[in-house]
Amino acid sequence: MIEINGLAKKFPVESPKKLSEQERKDPRLRGRHFHSVKDVSFHCEEGQVLGLLGPNGAGKTTTLRILSTALKPDKGEVSINGHNVLSDPTIARRKIGFLSSSTGLYGRLTGRENITYVGKLHGLGDSEVASRIADMADLLDMHSFLDRRAENFSSGMKQKVSIARAVIHQPELVILDEPTTGLDIMATSTVMAFIRRLKEKGTPVIFSTHHLDEVQELCDRVSVINVGETVFDGTLAQFSSLSDGRMHDSFLKTLNQTSDEEVSNVVNL
């Protein structure tokens, strides 16, 4: 079980004068600090998929970066199966597989070398890495490009290799930050199938997305973050029932907005 309680994280603002008008109006900007995450809490059981929703800039990526141990929170607790992630991040890193939204590959290495490198960073042996890559090449349909240099990969190829790289060490928790953004339909369905398979194997998955159809198809739980705070945390059924099964309206409701207000915001932009 993964538990996140009361996470908070602020970042120093190097030059407040350079911020845009909109950024200056953000209530999270206090003095020379931007409180990206103020109070985020949610949990996810074994074999569950949790969809992390929220508008752009809500604090989803910061939350996932804290979960992955890339960032240290100022406040709050994170535990994976009872293990405190923050007190011993090195051990936690062996349990976590993380795909960041801005993830990149080493262009001068082949797809296989990219995955092997991370596998070895996790202490896996040559034969173990090779057999796991072979399995994932089947699952993610990577055989045709696995031994080509990554510098010429398409977005879909890159994302498949990045996902394989994130789970090569068979983590206890998989965190995916917008894994289908920018992918074509075929690549998206491969990624979706892969998440489904992780779920079947009992691996909990936390993924952030803007696609509510993906949430409806894959998720058991939903957590919504807005302006750095958790505004909804519950099952998919609870989320869906907020607006009689209309996912889009449910999402807006958690943000205290209606469809009309959303349209009005867009028009005002």
Binding site: E14, A70, I96, S102, Y106, V118, L121
Partner: protein, 398 residues
Amino acid sequence: MWLIFKKEFTELLRDKKTIMFMIVLPVLLFPLIIGVTVFFTSMAVDKAENKVLNFAVVGKQYAPDIYQSMVQETDKFNEVTLPENADYATLINNETVDFVLEIPETFNPDILNSGQHTLTLYLNDAGLNKVRSRVGEVVDKYAKEYQVAAFSTLGMDEAQQNALLDPVIIERENIADDREVWGERLGGMLPYFIFFLCLQGAMAPASDLGAGEKERGTLETLLISPMERYKVVLGKFFTIGAAGVICALITVTSMAVWGLLISQGMAIEFVADIMAMVGIADFVLIFLMLVPVVAIFASVLLSLSIYARSFKEAQSYMGALMMVVIFPVLIAMMPGVELKGGWIWVPLTNVALAMKELLKGTMDYFALFGIFASTLAIAVAMLTFCVYWFNKEKVLFR
């Protein structure tokens, strides 16, 4: 740590840009520079030596021997008749004549009675030319004849002639051996060259290993791996250091090899003499002195690179660093700066001076140990800072 080193080095060797800077450029650029310079210089010298010089002698009737010599050497000189009241400067500048030799009417071969004579040579001496030496060859021959005739008239023997010409001679007995002389001449340049090359070779990989990781979005993958941060830093640090040393070695070797090939026999003898004088042990010591210096460079470059948001930003920081690093090495090249007193404790300057002393064969090995230890201490401090820097969120996620 070695896993990271191996991966970084593999990537480095597959990077065309790095290969260009680290191997191709040093191997091809120096021979190209040396070759082109030697080719054009020798062409220009050859042309100046063999050119038929257009000349005019004013007052030729006062020194007919000299004038006739020039006229007869038609493969070297060509007489041009000057108009009345000619402006020599204009004629020389518009290349009507290459020189004008003016002989005074008082000129007389009997120098005992007439005294010393001054011939005026008008020429444009701004570019490469051999006018002075070629005219000198003709005039000096006759000057010597006039001198011998004068001594003969005075009835002086050869010893008296020599005493009169050079009453006091200082005979130099240089107690410095050849090694010390050559070490003094080359020793200042060598560290400057090597330091510069080490830094240059390390810059491209350093930019890629820090700022490049940020720009590509691969840094996060590394940060969330179970590998301890200090091992990540060490892996990158060794890659950058190795690149710097390899670049310097390739460049120096390239220069030596191509220098031998281009200048042939003379350089072979010269280089062989230097090698025989210095000895392997001193070369090894020079290399060992370089190790902590490269470590300092690698740590600082990696710290700058990891701070930068982009490859471009990293390159601009490193350009400024180049000036900072080269300054203490330039100090070591200044006259009067020796490995004594306070200079022993000036970082980088002391290593440059120590390298010079090693080449000269006058190194105090006890001082060498101190310099090595102090430079190593600075390198360790820089590396420690780099590890600390690599743990700062403010730096990693700027």
